[in-house]
Structures are given as C-alpha cells and as structure tokens.
Symmetry: C2
Subunit: 390 residues, 2 copies
C-alpha cells in the first residue's frame, strides 16, 4: 500500500426534497451572488431550476444564469461563464445538472480569478491555486463530479478532451443529491451512468500496487451493489430506493475512497475520451465499448487481477487457469452491459468504421507515449484495444 | 434508505514516516500552543512523543503535556487537562495514542471553552457548540476515534461510562496514521482492536432500515478484508502491508461511511460499556464476549439480516432455514474470535460470576428502558443476553 492523503470535505446532503436546502447551504458557505450553470432545458421544464432560484433568492442571494451546457462540454461555454461571472462579481457557482454541467461550473470557478487562459490548467501549463466555491444540485448519477476535484472539458478547436485534477480547490462545498430527481432519467441515460460509475471503480481497482485488500473489497462491494440495483432499475425505474442506491454508488465510486493507497489506471477513460471527442457519443456508452476491450487485452498480458475481478464480482468459479477465469469474467461483464441496453462494440455504438489511426494519434498526442498503470500501453497496444472494440 | 448528510472533513495522512508531518499539519490548521495528550508511557519509551514534540517545536509551536491516560479513560484526567489548557491558553489539542487518549483530548477540547461542567455534554444536558481543534497521531487501530466526532469517558464516581456524538465539532482536523507504529502492538492489543472495529461495522449493519444494499456491501467488504488480514497479522505481526490494511479498516469502520442512510443499533456497545466500566476489562475483549451473545439472541427474534451476514461475510451456504444459517454464522464468528486469541464468554474473560443484576440496572439507568434498533431490547432481553454471554 502506498502512502496517501484522504479527505472528503464536501457536505453531501442526500434524500427526498433536499434541493430546497440549496439557499440555506449556499448562505452557510458564504454565497452572495451566484452563477447558476445548467443544461439543455430539462431542469427548466421540470421546474427544478425555478425551485433552486426561489430557494436562493429567499436567502437574499442574487442569481445569474448560464444554460445550454451540452454533454461533452466545450471551452466556449467556459469562456462565456467566466465573462458573466467577472462582469457581475459573482462569488459562488451553483451547478444544477450532471457531470457536464458540474465540470463546466468548475472550469469557470477556476478561470474567474486566473489572469491567463483557463485552458492552461487543462494543458498542464498552470495549476489551480484558487477558485470560486461551488455548490451542486445533482440530477444525473454517473460522473461523480459532485464528489471530486476534477473536471473534463473539450476544446472545440482540435477536439482535445482534457481533464484536470485538484485535491481541494475544485471540490464542491456541498452536493445536494435527491434520488427523486433521477426517476425521470431514460433507461439509456441511466445505463450510461451505470457504465461510467462502474468504470470509475475499475480504473482504481486495476493497479500495479499490491496489498490493497481493503480497497479491493470496497471496490468489489460497490460494483456488486451497482450490478444488483442496475437490474432492478430497468424493471422498476420509479423505485426511489433503487435510485437512491445507484445515486450514492456514483459518489462512492469517485470520491477517492476506492483509490486510496494505490496507483490508478485510467487508460480506458483516456481511450474513451478520444472516441467521445471525435464522434460525440455519450461517455458512458463509449466506456461500455472500450472497457471490455481493454479488459480483454490486459487479460492476455496480466490475468491475475482480472481473474480476481471475475471471481469476486461476477461469481466465476476459482480455478488454476486464470486466463479461462478472465474470459468468463469479461463475458459476464459484457452480458451485463448488454442486458441494460448498452453497446459493447463500435458497430453497436453506431460507428461502422472507426478512424483508428486518428484515435491513436490524438490519444498519444494528448496523453504521451504511455498510458495506464496495471499494464502500460504503448501505441501498438492502444491500437490493438481499439481494434478489439470494433 | 433514510435521508442523510455525509461529510468526512478530517485530513487523513497515511503511511510510513508521516508522524514527522505533525508540526507542519498543526501549523496549517492554526496551532500556536498545543496540549499533547498521551498514554501509559509507550509513546515515551518508543521515542514517538519526542519526535512529535520536535516536529511541533521546529514550527515554533509551544508544547504542554498531559500523560498517563489509561484504557477506559476517566473524568479526572479531563478536568486536569482542561485546567492546564486554560492556564497556558492552549489553542490546539494533539492526541498521541489510541482511542482512550483521543477521547480524552476531545473531552478536554470541548470542556475548555465551556463555562459549565464538561460532564454535562455526556449526560446530555448541554450540547458541544465549540471546541479547541484537534490533531491526532494514531498508535492503535481500534476505536476509530481518529475519524469520528465521538468520545467515550467514564465518570469514576458511580462508574458511568457515557458517550457523546457530534457532527463536526470534535472531528479531528487531521489524523496521522503510520502503520509502522502499530507493529509493536501485542497480539492481545491487536486482537482487541480487531474485535472493536468489526463491532463498529456490525452496529451499523444491523438495522431496521431496508434498501441499503450499497452500505451493506461496504460493511461486508470491510469485514471480509479485516478477517483476512487478522489471520495474516497473527502469523506475521511485523508485516507492514497487513498492518496498513488493518489500520485503514478501523477508520473506514467508524468515519460514518458504513452507516449512512440507516438507523444504527449500538446495543452491543452499550451492553459492553457496563462490563468494562464495572470490571475494567479491555473494551474489544468485552465486545468479543457480548456481540456473539447479542447476535445469538437477535437471531431467535429476527434472523433475516443475521442470515445475510452469515452468507456474505462467513460464506455460510444459503438455504431456506434462516435460523440454521444464523447458527452457522455466529459459530464461524466466535471461532474466528477464538482463533485470534479472544475470549467469547464472561468465564474466558476472567469473570466467573458476573453481577448481572448490577449490569442490567446500570445499563438502563444510563441508557433508558429500551436500547438498540435492529431489535429493541428491554430489561428482560438485556438480562438474557448477559446470561447468554456467561
């Protein structure tokens, strides 16, 4: 186990009706003028945005807004938000939505007090030292951004999808999580969220670091809970209890707990980011295509941990032939993804002839020559994984 | 699942050599004059206390000290600490030790700015509204006090062992956790700590609240990891990796994560507190006697969750006869406790004829007529459990 620091300072306020606490929570954390960031209109149509504004204004907080944030959020909205926030001297960000909305709010929060171009942070030429504080009203359990100090933004010029990771600066002060708000999610949105949160755990689970039994068990337990609840939610999408378990699982998957004391992998996310940047697919659906292909590939090179994953998560019988265990484990994982309506190949994702040359080129341009930790991947390896995903 | 708020604001600094960061961490959190609380001399003999003082003084922090804190810590040391802290205008508490030392530091921290008697907090006639900030250098993984806002103190007059629970006020600002410091723990201390951390999970696991699949899985996974590492540590006590998993497990067991969204039970802890208050036994050893007896008793009245515990934690075969599953589960649990050298009856604990009248009387005097959540226990029930523990 490696040395580590763990802190989860975000106040998670979870349960029915909790969005009505946004005003009192924002006041508690010092908000006077907020910029509300939201998405493609669902928050408007459902009346949620109005409830959030009412709650804030009841506390005497001034509200400015920026909407229309799309999945795979882009830099133009960040520049626009920074401009608004500076003009009106906003001192607090409120994100009402899922990962794309929250990530945009975080990028704006980092950009406002910074003299240079916010993209510097994503390119790694500057570090976030201060940012506006952020509060979240979560509507889609998937990205885990409500619990992390991370953000992923795509630069439209060149379609570079890059991420930043901070320890504290971009962690939300509070995240309001009402599972009732997720009941209206479509089966597709629900399934894509499930693939994303499972991947967040797997990116941490597959590691070079040994002797991390406790974190392994936490990862496996969270995965098992997600799998059980995923089957249930497809049959009974308006079940509050099932939605509640799924919503909290997305947070546990990404608040750092499942990764303490170990190197993390993140190769599948990096491989996928190029796919969603180039083809505009939903991130979770892209992961459902890429992660099984990655698992298949690493099983050929280093089966041990994949065999443990097969046994403990997918109830594959333990035996000496680890490679056979991995085959059964990856099969069970793909079968599960299909059962909740997800694609597990480029073809099923609607991409008949992926431009693998371009994906490999962009990937290594963005991330360097080697990616991943469990197995280090070079250009030949990443090409093979994209091929396996066809 | 119930509505809940989860926050884990303590900065856990985990790994080799981390105790040397105590000075810089105390400075980061605003310390100028600290009162160091420590135990029965091991921290002195091992040189740890000196290293802590050196690190603090290198940062220009003034150090005062109070030592000789015993297991099942008592009110007299709290009064003494409050006096010292007030006299020298201490602004920060540093606990160097295990649960007893940390709980004493917390009680002092709450008492210093309070005009009345600190015991008011424990009796429930006053609430902690402010407290000196606290930092921890942990030496015994067991109580989980490094991660909680709780404290347990025994009033010598009448031997009342009572606890307080705060959301934030008594959470340590930082907790330094170096598993190397735990390698010198005796098998007995190690085993008692293991029984304590397992109990902290079980007190949360057994609940009336349904539909808490994710937290159940986190509880079960943590228990499975503890069981595996417990076997290893008895064979190989100087194995850093094993010690690291056990140390982090004690924190996970008690930082709130395993209890979110559900009512908790705590009957076994309350039953045990009377035993250690009256007979002065080690808390973890007392739990190893009480908790299996409690499990046996509740299995007769409500076997469902005990059967799940048997299946998922102890690999008992699933079948229709839940009561039989519980018998096998409790048997496996007791066998495990014995295998790491713990007593599982009053007799093995060295108490031939426990004064059950006295224990039952004191228990309900301290805690009221009914205790517990999974099954509510009245005087007849608690008497039967003490009898089962003979």
């Amino acid at each position: 186990m490696n040395n580590f620091v763990f802190i989860s300072p975000t106040e998670f306020v979870f349960g029915k009706g909790t969005e009505n606490k946004v005003g009192s929570l924002a006041t508690k954390y010092g908000a006077n003028k907020v910029l509300i960031v939201y998405g493609k209109g669902h928050a408007v149509k459902s009346g949620l945005l109005q409830r959030v504004e009412d709650s804030l204004m009841n506390e005497g907080i001034m509200c400015y807004k920026i909407g229309d944030i799309a999945p795979n959020p882009t830099d133009d909205k960040v520049y626009e938000g920074i401009e608004i926030a500076r003009t009106y001297h906003v001192d607090f960000m409120i994100a009402v939505g899922g990962g794309s909305v929250i990530d945009t709010a975080k990028a704006i929060a980092a950009g406002v007090p910074y003299e240079g171009d916010f993209w510097d942070f994503f390119q790694g030429t500057a570090r976030v030292k201060q940012a506006l504080p952020i509060g979240v009203v979560l509507t889609i359990p998937a990205a885990g951004s409500e619990a992390s100090g991370n953000s992923v933004i795509t630069k439209r010029d060149g379609l570079h999808k890059l991420s930043i990771r901070t320890d504290r600066e971009l962690r939300p002060k509070f995240s309001i999580m009402n599972p009732e708000l997720t009941i209206s999610l479509s089966p597709w949105q629900t399934a894509c969220g499930i693939a994303d949160m499972m991947s967040h755990i797997m990116e941490r689970y597959f590691t070079n670091t040994t002797d991390v039994e406790l974190t392994d068990r936490l990862c496996e337990g969270t995965l098992k809970a997600i799998i059980q609840e995923a089957h249930k939610v497809m049959l009974d999408p308006s079940n509050y209890e099932v939605r509640a378990n799924i919503m909290w699982a997305a947070t546990i998957a990404h608040n750092g707990l499942c990764g303490v004391g170990r190197e993390e992998d993140w190769a599948s996310h990096f491989l996928e980011h190029e796919v969603s940047a180039v083809y505009g697919v939903t991130h979770g659906a892209g992961l459902a295509v890429i992660q099984p292909a990655w698992l298949n590939w690493v099983s050929n090179h280093r089966p041990e941990k994949v065999a443990q994953f097969a046994e403990r998560v997918w109830n594959v019988e333990k035996r000496k032939d680890l490679r056979m265990m991995t085959v059964e484990g990856v099969f069970a994982y793909k079968k599960f993804l299909k059962s909740i309506g997800l694609p597990t190949s480029f073809r099923e994702l609607g991409i008949e002839n992926p431009d693998i040359d371009k994906l490999v080129y962009k990937l290594h341009e963005d991330k360097g020559e080697f990616i991943g930790n469990y197995v280090q991947l070079d250009r030949r390896a990443t090409r093979e994984i994209y091929e396996l995903a066809k």
